[in-house]
Amino acid sequence: MYQYILRRLVQAIPVLLGVTFVTYFLVFYAGGDPARLAMGVRSDLATVESFKEEWGLNKPWYVQYCTFLKRLAHGDLGRSLSTNEEVLLSILERFPATLKLGLASLAFAIIFGIPIGIISAVKPRSFLDNILMVVALLGISTPSFFFGIILIWVFGYLLGWLPVSGFDTGLSGIKYLILPTIALGTGPLAVFARLTRSSMLEVLRQEYILTARAKGLGEVRVILKHALKNSLISVVTVLGSSLAGLLSGTFFVEFIFGWPGIGLLAVDAISNFDIPVILGTVIFASVLFVLANIAVDITYAFLDPRIHYG
């Protein structure tokens, strides 16, 4: 198992290199002059040039890329062109907020999504099933930023049950967490519900379920013990890609709710053409994504005894 994890981590290195390369290439291909944006539109050419020199921005992009990789190898993501803050520091400062929102959303999606899927599968084509699946379809189709605004409008503004926006740490922060969690978590929730339903339906048709019922096991035990565990494998499979959705969703949800996370940092960096911060956030998100996928694969082994990692 440890060997497997090690192998996966080593395999991740070319993936991450690829991500940095593509990002670097795209940033340069897009055009625009980061030095001019950083120094202000009133700056004279000499000032802009000296800024470029200071930051190595006057070199060809592949040279800059190599310098960047060298620094990266030392764990140095550089400093922001617009604020001069250390990029890694900014990311670490913002990460807890994003992690909190991401985990809460994932938990929300699992806690509600899987039971909804089970209920729908147990009574397929029933009224309840139809309603739940329509809701799930809406959940998948509604962009999180739009859903976020609607939630704020209804629960924050009109009804006043929850704060319109805000952030706090500790217990007092929970009231601020609820709406963004729902905004971000509803998409994956819907995915989980639909997947649980379809794989559960499949499993329920298997002969061992018939056997279990024939043995006289109670329906609840059949569903939760025998059917659910085998249905979950497909859900775990999409867990990895849901994380990607959560990460990109945070860009919009953080923006709407004024949530001080990494998504907001990235949005600002893109509009300021702040290359070190763009790259830093992309790399950080990629690392998270790769790690999450490895974790998902390991989870398989626990759910399905047929899967072994040697």
Binding site: A30, G32, V41, E85, V164, D268
Partner: protein, 581 residues
């Protein structure tokens, strides 16, 4: 006071809205202040102003404060030699008085002697010391020094005696890792502890305005050296408020400077407020909802709720009448530039005039901007000194536009004419308002036979293409740095071509240049204004811009917010704001 030069209208809108939002009268008032509380209609002590800021701040180091969000915060923390009053006239701040000699070349400032820096660990014993003339010199030389990477160097570039030499030598010394041979900027002189003198290379009539800009706010050497690269997040100044917390992406908390030197006209110490809580929020609609819940003290009116809040006559609807409504102007001009180096538009005046006659500015303002604008007749906005009420400008006259097109040889309908082909209008993304205005103009130009295609690209790429001169028709805007016509007319001076200067259209006209240069050497304000008006007439006639509009905004205030003035150029003077109980 935030110095932002080219701003897109969208950003401008954001800026106005964003400037801030809420306030809550939280503070109580102790008995010792009972007397203060009895002053009818005058400043009352206490309370915390709650503001929504819809942008991230970049830096609280004045040398690098160039964006609206940072400027709003930094303005509360620092002082400059002078500032703009509510009529946009210069009033003394750190400088008690000043004299100008040698035909406008030498400016001598007499400083106040009762100003102290905020208490900070960077000072011996943590106690702020008195501000002296050396601090002004130090702060100004930081802007000149290339190693500071100040975005405000353009203020002094070529204007201050010895500044360019100092900058070059210091940059070289840094590169060669040696001591600089030039220790001081010749034009910055400490005469005595409370007298500071600036010598210019040649007279620059609007010079005093530069001393009100954010870059020139004064910092203590101790703090800059103590915090080093992190000074931008540990600001230490002499201003009415002190920074208590800055959580990036979340909030900024400032508290009252109990030793602030300034007092109101009755001798009551400023500021009135106990503090300011600023929330960083990105979405204007969310900020508005927070305001309407009572969580911010003021707010703009986002387009999504405009019709709910405002009547057709731009009054408040009954539901929102509990709020105070303030109309603001922003000393800006929105325009589409013609790249004057490009044929055929740039080289054909009739064509450019045809564009100007073809658009109905008032209808765009009424229908697209919800009335938030004033049609632009020329380059100068109405509240700018020297604004010419008599300026004819371009009325909506599609017949005339067609006539001029024909004259220029570009009428589709004329037997011998040839069509103009498709003209690409380039604008930056990031604001549906920009796009809506562009579409309206596209439509109106289409009606006289000018076919326009919109190309919407990101701001960095847009700016880059304007810098390189590769676009022939582009959206741009200008917000005043200071209330002097020079600041706008510099956009047409032939020595100011972009990217080095703000003349993005590369407009060049000998007669204009002559008037502009002559005005710079004059110290008589009224005479200067006359010259500027003549210069502007040339600009209007030559039409390097498609003149569009000047911004107007509306802000809602909570019923108990007092003395909140929204000055153009994003100046927010919280030191005189108070909360009625």
């Amino acid at each position: 006071m935030v110095k932002r030069m080219k701003i897109h209208i969208e950003k401008l809108y954001v800026l106005i809205m964003a400037a801030a939002i809420v306030l809550a009268g939280i503070g109580g008032c102790g008995k010792k202040e009972a007397q203060l509380q009895d002053r009818e209609g005058k400043g009352k002590r206490g309370g915390v102003l709650r503001v929504a800021l819809t942008g991230e701040l970049r830096s609280l180091d004045p040398a690098r404060v160039g964006d609206t969000a940072s400027g709003l915060i930094a303005e509360q923390i620092y002082n400059g030699l002078v500032e703009f009053d509510n009529e946009l006239k210069i009033r003394p701040v750190l400088a008690e008085s000043w004299t100008v000699t040698e035909g406008g070349k030498v400016w001598r400032f007499n400083l106040r002697q009762d100003v102290k820096f905020h208490d900070d660990p960077s000072f011996p014993g943590g106690k702020g010391r008195k501000l002296v003339a050396g601090d002004i010199k130090y702060s100004f030389e930081r802007i000149v020094n290339a190693n500071t990477l100040s975005t405000g160097w353009w203020l002094f570039n070529g204007k201050i005696k010895g500044a360019n030499d100092y900058r070059e030598e210091n940059a070289l010394a840094e590169k060669e890792n040696r001591e600089s041979r030039i220790k001081d900027v010749e034009g910055f002189k400490v005469i005595d502890a409370y007298t500071f003198q600036i010598e210019l290379t040649r007279p620059f009539a609007p010079f005093i305005n530069l001393m009100a800009m954010s870059y020139t706010w004064v910092v203590p050497k101790e703090a800059v050296e103590y915090y080093g690269k992190d000074f931008f997040k540990h600001p230490v100044g002499t201003g009415p408020f002190m920074l208590e917390e800055w959580s990036p992406g979340l909030r900024v908390i400032m508290k009252r400077n109990p030793e602030y030197w300034e007092a109101d006209e009755d001798g009551v110490q400023l500021p009135y407020l106990d503090g300011i809580n600023i929330r960083i929020l990105r979405d204007n609609l969310v900020a508005f909802m927070e305001f309407d819940k009572g969580n911010f003290d003021y707010s703009g009116i986002p387009p999504e709720v405009w019709d709910k809040v405002m009547t057709k006559e731009n009054k408040l609807t009954s539901k929102y009448q509990k709020y105070q409504l303030v109309k603001t102007s922003s000393l800006d001009t929105g325009y589409y530039g013609f790249m004057m180096t490009h044929s055929p538009i740039g080289t054909n005046k009739d064509l450019r005039q045809a564009f100007n006659y073809a658009i109905d500015r008032q209808s765009i303002i009424d229908n697209v901007l919800n009335g938030r604008g004033i049609p632009a007749k020329g380059a100068l906005p109405p509240e700018m000194p020297g604004f010419n009420k008599e300026l004819k400008g371009y009325d909506y006259d599609p017949a005339k536009a067609k006539e001029l097109l024909a004259k220029a040889g570009f009428s589709n309908g004329f037997p011998n004419g040839k069509g103009l082909g498709e003209i690409t209008l380039q604008l930056n993304s990031g604001g549906t308002t920009n796009e809506d205005v562009a579409e309206a103009i596209q439509d109106q130009l289409g009606k006289v036979g000018i076919n326009v295609k919109l190309s919407i690209i990101s701001w960095p790429q847009h700016l880059d293409s304007v810098d390189r001169g590769t676009t022939q028709f582009f959206r741009m805007g200008w917000v005043a740095d200071y209330p002097d016509p020079e600041n706008f007319l510099a956009l047409f001076y032939s020595k100011n071509f972009s990217p080095e200067g703000p003349n993005s259209t590369r407009f060049s006209n000998e007669e204009f240049d002559k008037l502009f240069e002559e005005a710079l050497n004059l110290t008589d304000f009224d005479k200067r204004l006359k010259l500027y008006q003549k210069a502007e007439e040339i600009v209007v006639e030559e039409a390097p811009w498609l003149f569009i509009s000047h911004g107007v905004g509306y802000v809602l205030l909570q019923p108990n917010l007092r003395n909140m003035v929204f000055l153009p150029m994003a100046i927010n003077r919280y030191k005189v704001v108070w909360l009625e109980k």
